[in-house]
């Protein structure tokens, strides 16, 4: 985490603006998606730049959490050539989307941005104005702060501050008695208002039609209660199992502060121990663990 203070946001920001300007002026890109300053100091918001004159809107600071890769889906059927700025996790998201056949590489320009880790905006909102803001939870465990794939890049690589995932939070729940586990999840999922922000920001949740948007299908009901919410939670976690790129966006955007990554990390932990280490989104060739099998998978069902 020591990278944070030696990292020069302003310098990278200047490079980003220059890069955007160059791409737009040369016509290589018809639009550039980056971040601009949001309503509050700890907020940033995606911005679409179409003209070289507007590049100064672009900013780069410790609150540029939003993953811009998912926006590429919106332009797959247009003639746009879209450039996006992408942190390490965003490039993994980009690979996820390529692998899921949701975007086409030739229509995108990925500008890699090495990332020193984003700050916890939720804490920032609670803390006094000038307090030291901790790193966002998912970023603390980030092992790929540098882009894993890119067409162009700005900044210089940072050294990863984390080498192994920290499963202590998952293990803490695993260690609880069954009733306590249930009470814990029950209490978390009673808070869920099913706004689907977690799903919609998730690069792995990229279906054109989610089963939770098909209330006529009988899969789910619009009734909101702990049971239905947990059904939603487990199902979504299962759907992204082995496909989650661990950006932690789902948890960050949850207005109810449900610890969603605790679900995702449980699957990640079990996949690693049962089927071998797997890192989603590092490339576009490695198949998702649930789309293949090995005859020598652990046998517990005899």
């Amino acid at each position: 985490m020591s990278n944070a203070f030696v990292y020069n946001f302003d310098q990278v920001q200047n490079e980003m603006r220059a890069m955007a300007k160059e791409l737009l002026e040369s016509g290589e890109a018809t639009m550039v998606i980056g971040w601009e300053k949001g309503a509050l100091p700890y907020q940033s918001t995606p911005v679409m730049i179409r003209s070289a004159e507007d590049v100064d809107k672009l900013i780069w600071d410790a609150y540029c959490q939003q993953n811009l890769s998912t926006y590429l889906i919106d332009y797959i059927y247009t003639d746009e050539k879209v450039a996006i700025f992408a942190k390490g996790c965003d490039t993994r998201a980009y690979n996820r989307l390529i692998q899921d056949n949701r975007i086409k590489a030739e229509k995108c320009i990925v500008i890699g941005v090495p990332c020193p880790g984003m700050k916890n905006a939720r804490e920032a909102a609670r803390l006094p104005e000038n307090a030291e803001v901790p790193m966002a939870n998912a970023c603390k465990e980030c092992r790929y702060p540098n882009p894993v794939v890119f067409d162009k890049r700005v900044g210089t690589d940072v050294t990863a501050w984390c080498t192994e995932r920290d499963f202590s939070d998952v293990e803490a729940i695993e260690a609880m008695p069954a009733d306590d586990k249930y009470a814990f999840w029950q209490s978390q999922y009673t808070k869920c208002i099913r706004c689907y922000a977690c799903r919609n920001i998730c690069p792995a949740c990229n279906c054109t039609s989610c089963i939770f948007d098909q209330s006529a299908s009988g899969w789910c009901s619009k009734d909101i209660n702990a049971s239905e919410n947990q059904f939603y939670g487990v199902t979504r976690a299962f759907h992204v199992a082995g496909r989650c790129i661990e950006c932690g966006q789902c948890e960050m955007v949850c207005p109810s502060e449900v610890p969603i990554m605790l679900m995702n990390k449980k699957f990640i932990k079990d996949i690693d121990s049962l089927f071998g280490a797997h890192e989603a989104g590092l490339d576009t060739n490695t198949p998702a663990p649930l789309s293949h099998f090995s005859v020598s998978d652990p046998e517990e069902f005899m």
């Binding site: 797959i76 059927y77 899921d100 056949n101 949701r102 990229n206 279906c207 054109t208 039609s209 989610c210 089963i211 098909q214 299908s217 009988g218 899969w219 759907h239 198949p287 998702a288 649930l290 789309s291 293949h292």
Partner: protein, 668 residues
């Protein structure tokens, strides 16, 4: 509007004695969707079926539930029954209240009745979600492929060809003939194997409906019953088959030497060779491993070329490459045969180190007039005639610890045959046979065995051999006579082991290519051990001969004929009915992520590009497309599909959820 008819069968007292059928019928009378409900003694009987058909007409039913035995028993019966009354046969469901209820809950009438009610409600809820389905039709390619050119493959191909259908024999070695061509005599008649085999080989090679594809391997099988697309690798023969006349001049001066596999490595052969004199096609191949030219090429040189110089037809082609080609077939017969168990794992038999401890197949070559010893029974080590021969049965068979758990079926008889042949050729030679059991369940088999002992004086000793070791020129055989309860030691000149039959070492890979099952030993799995012995679980793929399990020649030939009949029955149809209970993708819901593609065991799913109108603009995007003829309806894709776009007809998400809900509704 669903109008379900519910029919509860008593099955005499089978169900009726435990389940209160009348109460079951009564309790679902008002269940949503039910228009009629009754019970009857035997629903599957003529009057029972008439009752269903009358009710369909009288009550205007559009769906039917029968609660009776297992659908594995009578689903077809009742589907046909409702179809006769004008309903689509898939608007029918069965509730299993016999095997799953009355038979397993005897005496617990109250609880069994409650359970039956639940099962019937589940079936009703499911049938309310059933959809009209139509069987599909696929054309049939009227040509068969027989994989393996041994006696089973040859016989099967002949039978198919004689029925008027085209058939190809795919053989991986340079010649057809298989194991039978290596065998000298056949039991129990002691007629010459080659004399009965070669006419079949010639018939096959000259039959207008048969094409031989030798020195070739099965590479890939796509498609489905009636329409297989088979990719075959034709290995480089280095001899142009169209030019070669089969004169054999090329082989006369070849300096390359290699072990002669056909003669069980008992002698050498040339690098350009035909496996045996009667080989078909009788055209040589170059064994590139032992050919001097090809060996020198690896070192950057290019020597020899004698055969090319000698060949009067100019048929030698050193530049030939393996060729891949694709053929279409309507049916495939697997006749890949067997291999001999390798006895070198057994320390007690000398780990295969002693040259005079040989296997049964070695003996066949020794005793064969065109074999390495011109038919003289001599020891491989010093070419002396053995005066004492010990034969050991069950080498690798019936030995779950080190070998195979099964009985290889043929060894008792071929041991007896070989024993009589030794006594015939060398009347002075003593023959001892160590055995665990003697199993001779075939026509004239036991008679033959008795003659071996009584007329030929072969001594049978019941017991295992515990050790064989070389002592000077003799082999000392130690064993136990369990009938007399004493240790035996025999000084033998030669030991013949009756090795087990094992599947072709490649059988598992072959099974995966073709998409059929195999058992723990690697034998191909038949679809039913009794009622489907030549069929497999993959429609259109059949089994002939020893690839399914150890078999002797008459059994292999019989099975080959059986498989041929199944093939002909299939090829006689112009179109095949296909089950409609397959997966289907709802394009509207599909994102085209392709996660279902690798999951499908039948390669039935591919991504296709479709055109769509989105916000007033025509766009192209990819969606999964399921080939309904390839799909077998397992449902693996439906769970992989996050958005529920892939759904399995007749076992749809809605149907299964309806069943789950129906079962649980009495709880909440």
């Amino acid at each position: 509007m669903e109008r379900v008819g519910v029919f509860i069968c008593h099955c005499g007292s089978n169900i009726g004695a435990v389940v209160d059928c009348a109460r079951v019928a009564e309790s679902v009378k008002d269940y949503p969707g039910v228009a009629f409900s009754t019970d009857y003694k035997y629903m599957c009987s003529e009057p029972g079926q008439e009752m269903i058909q009358n009710a369909i007409r009288e009550h205007n039913l559009n769906r039917v539930v029968v609660a009776s035995c297992s659908p594995r028993m009578h689903e077809k019966t009742f589907r046909a029954c409702v179809a006769k009354a004008g309903l689509n046969e898939y608007m029918f469901e069965m509730a299993n209240i016999r095997e799953h209820c009355s038979w397993v809950h005897a005496g617990r009438n109250e609880e069994a009745t409650e359970k039956a009610i639940d099962l019937v409600k589940m079936a009703i809820s499911k049938v309310c979600n059933n959809e009209v389905l139509m069987k599909g039709h696929a054309p049939v390619t009227k040509r068969a492929l027989v994989v393996g050119g041994g006696i089973a493959g040859i016989q099967c191909a002949l039978d198919i060809a004689n029925n008027g259908y085209q058939v190809d024999i795919l053989e991986r070695t340079p010649s057809i003939g298989g194991k039978m061509s290596q065998i000298d005599k056949t039991f129990p008649t002691i007629d010459c194997s080659a004399c009965i085999l070669t006419p079949k080989m010639v018939e096959a090679s000259s039959h207008p409906n048969i094409k031989l594809i030798t020195f070739a391997e099965l590479e890939k099988v796509d498609g489905y019953v009636g329409n297989f697309e088979v990719t075959i690798r034709s290995k480089a023969r280095s001899v142009d088959m169209s030019k070669c006349t089969g004169c054999g001049t090329c082989m006369t001066k070849c300096p390359g030497k290699a072990d002669d596999e056909f003669n069980m490595n008992l002698r050498k052969r040339t690098a350009i060779y035909t496996p045996f004199p009667q080989a078909i096609p009788n055209k040589p191949v170059i064994d590139r491993e032992s050919c001097l030219k090809f060996k020198s090429r690896k070192e950057g040189k290019d020597v020899c070329g004698v055969c090319a110089k000698l060949c009067p037809a100019g048929a030698i082609d050193y530049e030939q490459q393996d060729e891949l080609f694709t053929e279409r077939y309507g049916a495939i017969v697997m006749a890949t045969g067997y291999e001999q168990f390798d006895h070198s794992i057994y320390g007690e038999y000398g780990y295969g180190k002693y040259p005079d401890v040989i296997s049964g197949l070695h003996f066949e070559r020794l005793v064969n007039a065109s074999g390495p010893t011109q038919g003289h029974i001599v020891r491989p080590s010093d070419h002396k005639e053995p005066k004492t021969v010990v034969m050991v049965k069950c080498v690798g068979s019936r030995d779950p610890e080190h070998g195979k758990s099964y009985c290889s079926r043929t060894c008792c008889m071929y041991t007896a045959k070989q024993a009589t042949m030794i006594r015939d050729h060398c009347p002075d030679t003593k023959v001892y046979v160590f055995y665990m059991d003697v199993r001779t369940p075939g026509k004239l088999y036991d008679e033959f065995y008795n003659r071996t002992r009584e007329e030929y004086g072969v001594e049978y000793i019941r017991g295992r051999v515990s050790k064989i070791y070389q002592d000077g020129e003799t082999l000392r055989v130690k064993g136990e006579d369990t009938l007399l309860g004493r240790q035996i030691e025999i000084d033998a000149d030669m030991v013949i082991l009756a090795n087990a039959m094992i599947p072709n070492p490649d059988s598992e890979r072959m099974a995966q290519i073709v998409g059929i099952g195999y058992d723990k030993d690697g034998w191909f799995t038949e679809s039913h051990p009794k009622l489907g012995p030549v069929e497999t679980h993959t429609a259109g793929v059949f089994l002939a001969g020893a690839c399914q399990g150890p078999k002797d020649i008459p059994d292999s030939v019989a099975q080959a004929g059986a498989a041929a009949v199944k093939v002909c029955a299939l090829l006689s149809k112009d179109q095949l009915e296909t089950e409609p209970t397959v997966s289907k993708v709802d394009n509207k819901l599909c994102s085209g992520c392709g996660l279902c593609v690798p999951v499908c065991p039948y390669k039935a799913i591919s991504l296709e590009t479709i055109q769509e109108r989105v916000a007033g603009k025509t766009i192209e995007r990819q969606v999964a497309n399921i080939n309904g003829s390839l799909c077998q309806g397992c449902g693996a894709c439906t769970v992989t599909c996050r958005s529920g776009a892939a759904n399995l007809k007749h076992f749809t998400n809605a149907q299964i959820l309806a069943e789950v809900d129906a079962l649980c509704q009495t709880i909440l």
